[in-house]
């Protein structure tokens, strides 16, 4: 947009946009608060049994106590997130490695296909009790469960990313007499990165779910066991406070993965292309001086 347009026509539209946005935020807030008030009154009027359906005010209080009063949640949060991170890294490495290996080898791919179909149809989280029985209680079996539930998405996505390389680009590389390694590093992997990243996002979500299920079964520590214990004791307000904590974590993970995606697959977004383009330009001009 030219400067002139910005000054002549831009101004009123910005103000109009602001007021529209403010109005929308206001409506959002009104709906949200109305829902909370409805819930709170419903509970106080005895329409909802507060024993099972805690009041928003009670959840808020529990939230405060868990984080800043007793600070009870921090330890469990640390345990769960540690497991998630380790399991996710393990699962990612395994998934991407296997995916690339299988994708590159048509024979292996052919013979592995039925097993992949079977694995895809199995609710993989169902192996949790089995793994705990085999590996015993403790962190090892929990991490094993997470690795198992989260390796699949990166595996499948890497596999399809590697297999679905544009044939004409492949021909281009062959015409330049590129080695297999060069084809992998300069064509196949960069081309597959956006798909792999999508797989990693799914893997992260799966890892969090896997950790929770492992903790439900082992019931020793972590957010999962905390939720279970609170629910058993009918301390529903605290249980809900834990759930909303998970919402926040889930949101942070989502945003974090999105950010990583934009950084790594920079050629898929305008800001990323500008950032890397500027950097390369600077590097070249410095080289020119040096």
């Amino acid at each position: 947009m030219s400067l002139q347009q910005g000054t002549v026509q831009g101004m009123p539209s910005v103000v109009a946009g602001m007021s529209l946005r403010r109005r929308r935020i206001l409506i959002h807030a009104t709906i949200f608060i109305a829902l909370l008030v409805l819930w709170e009154t419903g509970s106080r009027m005895g329409w909802l049994d507060p024993l099972f359906y805690p009041r928003p005010s009670a959840i808020l209080t529990s939230f405060w106590v868990l984080f800043f009063g007793s600070g009870h949640i921090w330890y469990h949060l640390y345990v769960t997130l540690g497991l998630v991170l380790m399991g996710w890294i393990g699962g990612s490495l395994l998934g991407v490695g296997l995916g690339a290996l299988v994708g590159f080898n048509p024979l292996v791919r052919r013979f592995l296909k039925p097993y992949v179909i079977v694995l895809e149809a199995t609710p993989r989280i169902a192996v949790a009790p089995l793994l705990i029985a085999a590996l015993g209680f403790g962190a090892t079996s929990k991490i094993a469960i997470i690795v198992l539930v989260c390796f699949f998405a990166p595996f499948i996505n890497t596999l399809s990313g590697v297999v679905n390389v544009d044939p004409s680009r492949m021909e281009l590389f062959r015409s330049m007499r590129a080695t297999k390694m060069q084809v992998l590093r300069k064509l196949v992997l960069p081309d597959a990165i956006p798909v792999i990243m999508a797989g990693e996002r799914l893997a992260m979500t799966a890892a969090l779910s896997g950790a929770l299920v492992a903790e439900f079964i082992q019931r020793d520590k972590g957010i999962g066991s905390l939720i279970l214990t609170y629910t058993r004791n009918l301390n529903m307000a605290s249980a809900f406070a834990c759930i909303f904590t998970l919402t926040i974590i889930g949101f942070l993970i989502f945003k974090g993965m999105e950010l990583a995606d934009h950084r790594i697959a920079y050629w898929k977004n305008e800001a990323g292309m500008k950032r890397i383009g500027d950097r390369r330009r600077r590097a070249m001009s410095e080289q020119g001086r040096g």
Partner: protein, 281 residues
């Protein structure tokens, strides 16, 4: 449907035999590894032991069937409820900008929260029976279906919409004749993910607290360290998963026929026959 010729059967056999051979070889290798003590049999049982457990569960005792059908029912009913709610909300959101704007924040919150975390709470609300399993299945399969349906319906094919407007179509006609059919492939992709997710919900809820279902059987065998029976049960979950997946695949194949070459050819022939029969009258 045409009957496959003997030639086609032969080809299928030739394709199938190497897979079978590999599978048997793997089983034999595994059996030997356990027998020679290379793998501890407590953690990983022999294939023959697993086969023995399968025979016991499915044939001699037949314990699996009641559990099998309970879990299958929970997953299917949960899926149906989740899908109905998801598709309704998605259709409504696609028709009304306002509705979409004020509903989407809640959908996002629901998406980033691991639905599995609700397991204990849902059991507290709906009890130890099938109700809580169905509820969890419905909750966690809602989002993938909602988001796929909405994405499909919101996709704007400007060229085709212009065509519809140029022949004087109403908004309602554009929705029904263009946007809905165009959204069907994504809708079915969502249904497939949703079914798998619903099964996970049912099984996890059974782990947490239940008296019947394959999840219960699975955790019972595991805690008895009866690994062979555990694996045999796991296999039954795979069977449920495959059943659900292929049932949806068949529906997908029938309804979204224009995405499959062979189905398309069949439909094309059927419509040609119908036309000929009518003009013959």
């Amino acid at each position: 449907m045409r009957k496959p010729s003997s030639y086609q059967i032969e080809i299928a056999l030739i394709r199938f035999v190497p897979h079978l051979l590999l599978f048997l070889a793997l089983l034999a290798l595994w059996e030997i590894a356990v027998l020679t003590g290379f793998i501890t049999s407590i953690i990983i049982p022999r294939p023959s032991a697993i086969i023995g457990a399968i025979v016991e569960l499915y044939v001699t005792k037949g314990t699996i069937y009641s559990h099998f059908f309970i879990t299958l029912t929970e997953a299917v009913v949960g899926f149906a409820i989740g899908a109905i709610v998801a598709v309704t909300l998605a259709v409504w959101s696609s028709l009304s900008e306002g509705f979409k704007r004020y509903v989407s924040p809640y959908a996002i919150v629901l998406n980033v929260t691991p639905g599995i975390a609700l397991t204990p709470i849902i059991i507290a609300w709906f009890g130890y029976g099938m109700g809580s399993k169905i509820a969890l299945a419905a909750v966690i399969c809602f989002f993938p279906i909602f988001v796929n349906t909405l994405t499909g319906l919101l996709h704007r094919d400007e060229d085709r919409e212009e065509l519809f407007r140029s022949v004087g179509a109403t908004k309602y006609q554009i929705f029904l004749k263009l946007r809905v059919p165009a959204a069907l492939p994504l809708l079915f992709a969502g249904f497939k993910i949703g079914l798998t997710t619903a099964l996970i919900g049912a099984v996890v809820a059974e782990f947490a607290q239940a008296t019947s279902g394959v999840g219960v059987l699975m955790s019972r065998f595991s805690f008895q360290l009866n690994m062979a029976a555990s694996l045999a049960t796991l296999l039954s979950m795979t069977v449920i998963g495959l059943l659900l997946f292929y049932a949806m695949e068949i529906l997908d194949d029938r309804i979204v026929f224009w995405r499959r070459d062979t189905r398309m050819a069949t439909v094309s022939r059927a419509r040609a026959r119908a036309w000929l029969a009518k003009s013959g009258e």
